[in-house]
Amino acid sequence: MLGMTIQRRLFFGFLLGPVALIIIGWVAYSCIQTMVDLRVQRNHTFAVLDGLTAVMVDALNAETGQRGYTLTGDAAYLAPFEAGEASLDEDITRALDLTADDTTRHEDILRLKAVLQQKSTELRRVIDIRKTQGLAPALAAVNSGQGKTYMDTARDIIRSIRGYETKKLGELTNTSNQVTRFTFNVILFGTIAAFLAVSIGGFLIARSITRPIAGTVQSLASTATEILAGTSQQASSMREQSTAVAETVTTVDEVLQTASQAAERAKTVADSAMQAVDVGATGRQSVMNTLTMMEEVKEQTASIAETILSLSERAQTIGEIIAAVNEITERSNLLALNAAIEASRAGEHGRGFSVVASEIKSLADQSKKATAQVRQILGDIQKSTNRAVLVTEQGTKSVHIAMNAANEAGETISSLVDTVDAAARAATQIAASASQQATGMSQIHQAMTHINEASNQNLAATRQSEQAAQDLHTLGTRLKAMIVGG
């Protein structure tokens, strides 16, 4: 059972009832057929008995009419005799036909026919005697007992046949009753048994079908729920995808425009880069000129420094001269002072010399002041010279730094020129790439449009799938309710 398909199970389930009905019907049919046969046989027996009765009645009527005529002589009493004689052959023939299947009874009927023919002959003879000879002879003929012998033999034969037929009828009746009870039992208990078998079989088949189907339906319902959720999510995703694709199409449009603009700008950049290459070459030449001029400035600065150093050395010489002058002044001052002392010591004679000494001292003091001023100025000059040397040194360093910077600028410009040259080539390639990109973006735009259409179609299909999943879910729920209830 477990290995059979549901179709086979249902087939055998539905086949179980008809088989039971066929069995019961066949048994009942057989029983009824038997009962019909028994009924035919009983009818046949009844017909035989009726035929025997009719034969006996004919015999009795013929005997009764013969006796009435004999006694009365009235021909009217011959009517029963005539009627009996008239139907006796027919009844005998019918009895022979009815017993054709039974040799013993057929032979008994033949013997009865012969007896009754002899009885009929006896009766006719008596009647003739009555007609012709009157009553007494007729009575004497009757009293001979021949007729009675025939009649008794006929009665014995009929009694024998009737006994046999009656016994047979009883057997047929018993058999018929048994068959009837059997048929009743078959119908009753067979129906009950078939009902029980069909019910149990149907229950088992239904259970063997509904259990896996219920599980399958449960799984189907779960799967349908999951499919519904999946299709709903898919539908949502498809809507989002459709929206995203639409946005992407818009973006692609913008990018397409941007790519076109980028191509134009890249071309402009390429042209500008080529101009920049020319400008860079000019700049590199300018830097080289600057370096040359800076070299000259460096040499001139060195010359200035040398000149200033020479000035400083000359100033140092002046300082030495001033020191000598100052020494001379000091000594002149002392000499003047001593002259004044000596003049004072000389008294009145030294007064004029005192004036000269005082004048000499005054000159010495002025000279001292002048040398002091010159020394201060020389100190200032020395400071300025030192500052100038420092500034010149700083200028030299600045020139050196400037030359380094110019060198770096030259290298930078060279590198920039190379870079700009590379950028110009790259910009040209970018322009070509941007053009190709614009073409590609156009193709992408068409592809995205197709994708958008396909996405919309997919969205519609997904909605249909969602509806189908919903229907499937409903169907699963309904099927589950149909199978397991609830």
Binding site: E330, S344, K361
Partner: protein
């Protein structure tokens, strides 16, 4: 250097520098070789100064002084007691002599003691720039001094007879001038026994 503002600024800066250099050269040239008018003016001023009449002060007692710096003090001594003023000389130390004696120097072929006058006058450390030789008729001793001024005269009557205003143990003072100049007594200074060194190196 401010000539960094551009080409125009550079030109202006260097034009100004050239003008300044030209003016300095001209001034130097003028100072080195004064023109005729300037030389005439200088000579006229000098002649006027030399032609000034000498004021007769014979009827007035006057003192001829030589002022000099001695540390924080400014002191004057009569001219007649100062034999000479010589450049600063490095004395040769004499062992076994008091600390007042700085040493001896060669003065015009003779040995002359040099004292630290500031020790007596309490002048502290002084800046030595000259050596003053004392002596009325012959050099007696010398001492270190700072800057020495010219010979000046003051009226004897104008001196204020006040005690020695400086510190230390001064021999004697003649007075104080109107300008606040302390005048040492040269005679007393020359006769001060502290400036005489005996055989054992002690003042005699």
């Amino acid at each position: 250097m401010t000539a960094t503002g551009g080409n125009g600024d550079d030109l202006a800066y260097w034009a100004n520098a050239m003008k300044r250099l030209s003016r300095a050269s001209e001034a130097t040239q003028i100072a080195m070789e004064p023109s005729g008018a300037l030389a005439d003016r200088i000579f006229a001023e000098r002649a006027m100064a030399l032609a000034a009449p000498i004021r007769d002060t014979a009827d007035e007692a006057r003192l001829e002084l030589i002022a000099f710096e001695l540390g924080r003090q400014k002191i004057a001594i009569e001219n007649r007691y100062i034999h000479a003023v010589i450049p600063l000389a490095e004395p040769a130390a004499v062992p076994g002599t008091p600390d007042l004696l700085a040493g001896v120097i060669n003065f015009r072929g003779g040995i002359l003691p040099v004292f630290r006058l500031e020790r007596i006058l309490g002048a502290g450390e002084i800046e030595r720039s000259s050596t003053i030789v004392l002596g009325e008729h012959r050099p007696e001793f010398a001492f270190f001094a700072g800057a020495v001024e010219d010979v000046s005269t003051v009226g004897a009557a104008s001196l204020r007879d006040v005690a020695w205003q400086g510190g230390g143990d001064a021999p004697a003072a003649l007075g104080l001038t109107d300008s606040g100049l302390n005048i040492l007594d040269g005679r007393a200074l020359l006769s001060d026994p502290r400036f005489f060194i005996g055989r054992q190196g002690r003042p005699s």
